[in-house]
């Protein structure tokens, strides 16, 4: 063993050594820094939205400013934070190590992905600085093509470019998992984190091009008056919605599948027990990936789409909940007869399971046709998808960041602060978003900067929750930054975790492993008796 080889962090200290790196681990760190910046910008927009909604009148910001704020919040959080979050940061860092490889299959392409992401993100920021966009992140035509007088084209271009970063990352993961597994590593030896990213990558590669095409059609109609979507030009506005949701519904699973992968690594480690029902977990991931392509029409139950289409999309949407339910059952069953310790990552993972369960159960309400007619386009929907995307994905992202922090930085984060932050986020999140379910059933539509007075109480509660949530997010930002430079050295495997990524040094050497990794390695070889 050449334990003297420098860690990936010690392999050059110049800016150049970072900006031209082909090391998947360094690229992951580059992603982590850039998505954090966008998370802060998107979070500021959310803070202003919640402040405006404290009073029923539109008094803090005007209607046009508010419309630009929620559009910026949506565009940034979806494309510049959530979609790249777990895959591009943790997937990038961990997949090669989990499969026992030295890097991804296409290291240069990986770096290109990051540059495309930064380029697209910069374009989107340009649109914001020029005065913003007011179409909502959904860009519905014909509003976005003929009626909006804001910077639609620059934003479309930004999202279009970021899309290619997604496609390349997905491609890289697929090829790597197929070709770079350590000799002897069968598919059912892969950690569920890798399975989840494999399914995610397939969605990225198949769905994102449809988004790219849709955005081009939108641009052609707006710039050149080619009638794709506007009926005045002979187009069909529902065509836009079909194309948009054909991408954007699977995109929800791009955000949640990796989060499921994270929970499936953290929970067995801190329960000291093999993940329950490994195979059914893997099959559930694949089932979700496949069915996710067949449910987009549930965003359009009141759009004027045909009644028959509505009925078919409704039953399919109920069906996609089956594999999701299986996963929740399996995580809870993993706790049975375990030996559970409540570290910060475990608190995040358990919080993820709870919030994902609430988000999933309320998804059933939206799949139910008669209820959806009432609550679609209200705060009920806003609450539902925030439970999945923020309660689910962001919780899991933070859990993952804490769990693999010793691996990435070689240092420990302050455990007490970590637990406090996880609790603050859980409480703040529920206080922010649970009242929104009630608001939605009461009938408050989304995207309103001013609202009827009877909705105020719940809005004030929601805004108060957002305050707690903001503190919860600022804490890890501060102490992780501190830990990066000053944290206590972690040792190679502070959690006694079984994943192959822990069977090397922390932080890992540039080529990941000092000795060739064992392809027959069992990533869930935990036993309750063995205490940490």
């Amino acid at each position: 063993m050449s334990a003297d080889a420098p860690s990936y962090l010690e392999d050059g200290y110049t800016l150049r050594s970072w900006l031209f790196t082909r090391d998947h681990k360094r690229i992951a760190v580059l992603y982590a820094v850039s998505i954090t910046l966008f998370f802060i910008i998107g979070g500021c927009a959310a803070a202003l939205i919640r402040l405006e909604l404290v009073t029923p009148q539109g008094d803090l910001v005007g209607a046009d400013t508010y419309n630009r704020l929620f559009t910026a919040h949506g565009v940034i959080m979806v494309w510049l934070f959530l979609i790249p979050s777990i895959p591009s940061v943790l997937g990038n860092f961990l997949i090669p190590m989990m499969i026992g490889a030295r890097d991804l299959a296409f290291p240069r392409l990986n770096l290109l992905s990051w540059y495309l992401y930064v380029g697209g993100g910069a374009l989107t920021l340009c649109a914001l600085l020029l005065g913003g966009v007011d179409t909502g992140w959904t860009f519905y035509a014909p509003f976005s093509t003929l009626f909006s007088r804001s910077h639609v084209i620059v934003t479309l271009l930004g999202v279009f470019v970021v899309g290619f970063s997604s496609i390349l990352t997905g491609l890289n993961f697929i090829v790597s998992v197929h070709t770079l597994r350590a000799p002897g590593m069968g598919w059912f030896r892969l950690p569920l984190f890798v399975w989840a990213h494999y399914a995610t990558s397939i969605i990225l590669v198949l769905a994102t091009p449809v988004l790219a095409i849709t955005l081009l059609l939108l641009a052609a109609e707006r710039l050149f008056g080619v009638g794709f979507f506007d009926p005045a030009l002979g187009g069909d506005p529902l065509l836009f919605q079909h194309l948009f949701w054909f991408y954007s519904h699977p995109a929800v699973y791009i955000m949640i599948l990796p989060a499921m992968g994270v929970a499936s690594e953290i929970i067995p480690c801190f329960a000291r027990k093999r993940v329950f029902g490994y195979r059914s977990m893997a099959y559930a991931i694949l089932a979700i990936g496949v069915i996710s392509f067949l449910v987009w029409g549930h965003h359009m139950f009141v759009s004027g789409q045909s009644v028959y289409a509505n009925v078919v999309f409704s039953i399919l949407s109920f069906m996609v909940a089956v594999p999701s339910a299986i996963k929740v059952f399996n995580w809870i069953a993993t706790l049975y007869k375990g030996s559970i310790s409540f570290t910060a990552p475990m608190l995040y993972a358990l919080g993820f399971v709870g919030l994902f369960m609430v988000g999933g159960l309320t998804g059933l309400f939206l799949a139910a046709l008669a209820i959806d007619v009432h609550v679609t386009d209200t705060y009920f929907v806003v609450a539902h998808f925030h439970y999945i995307m923020v309660g689910g994905s962001v919780m899991a992202y933070l859990g993952a960041l804490h769990f693999w922090w010793p691996k990435i930085s070689g240092r420990l984060y302050p455990e007490t602060l970590g637990r406090v932050a996880a609790l603050a986020i859980f409480v703040g999140f529920n206080l922010t978003f649970f009242p929104q379910y009630l608001l939605g059933y009461e009938g408050m539509p989304r995207r309103y900067h001013a609202y009827p007075a009877e909705f105020q109480l719940l809005n004030v509660l929601s805004s108060a929750g957002a305050g707690i949530l903001a503190v919860g997010y600022l804490l890890p930002l501060c102490y992780l930054l501190w830990s990066w430079f000053r944290g206590r050295p972690a040792g190679d495997n502070p959690w006694h975790a079984q994943g192959l990524e822990w069977h090397t040094r922390s932080p890992p050497p540039k080529d990941n492993f000092d000795a060739p990794p064992d392809g027959g390695h069992d990533p869930y070889d935990y036993r309750p008796e063995r205490t940490t």
Partner: protein, 325 residues
Amino acid sequence: MTDVALLPPAASSIAARTDALFYTLVGVSAAVALLLATLAVVFCVRYRRGSRADRSRPPTDARGLEWTWTIVPMLAFVGLFAWAARDYARLTRPPADALPVYVVAKQWVWTLQHADGRREIDQLHVPLGKPVRLLMTSQDVIHSFYVPAFRIKQDVLPGRYTAIWFRPTKAGTYHLLCAEYCGTDHASMAGGVVVMPPERYSRWLAEGDRSVGMARQGQALFRERGCVGCHDARATVHAPDLRNIFGRRVFTQDGRSVVADETYLRDSILEPAKDVVAGYEPVMPSFAGQLSEQDLMALIQYLRSDLNDGGRQAPAARTPEPGTP
């Protein structure tokens, strides 16, 4: 209505049904969530690190259990789907005697017209207990007609018709909101639906400026725009007879058949080449850009009304009205 209402008023025949389904789902979800949360908490406490709980032979899978918790939710989901779909089907089938109201949305105004011609802005007066059907279109972007108290919502699209119906069951004034983001003043594209007892509704209708009923407006348009010139049986041009056209099945030149509903009539006026009736030449010119959405709705109301005689009284109508050249 109180200032703080946790639940919206339920004021339509649909509302109680939707609420029943909603509360059932709330009950089921809460029970499931509670069960799972309890299990998780019990496991977390019982099997916390260092506890003396029995951990012998921990299961890593259990076929029977796994099949159970796959099949049972699936069956439950199918049941919920069917219940919700059945209620939804009601929403799509208005009673035949529903009062027609014609809705045109534009940034950021609702214009509603009753069959008798009375027009309202951002307000809709309807009689208690009578079904009302809205035929809706937009002049610009997509809007959405939403009355939370009735539990109904329907997007309103440019270039085509969508419809929705309701039967109010409680007198009062309820929010009418736009639920599809439509630009700057989306949040103020709001108004009210006023449900009044039938007698008061009739009085309300009578006290309005007694403009001409929509069918009469449509009849006038039918003559002025020259529709009679071809569609009258005595005309020299060979064009389909429009008596009793509404709701009839029409066979087209290319072998399809379509029901002559509002959308068909609208398309036939604006894009005559789309569904040419079998046995006729495609000679009709398009009226796109010449008729407003309100004009089109008046024509449709005329074609479906008792006044529709296919232009029989046409010759009388050709005598110029006073003031026209």
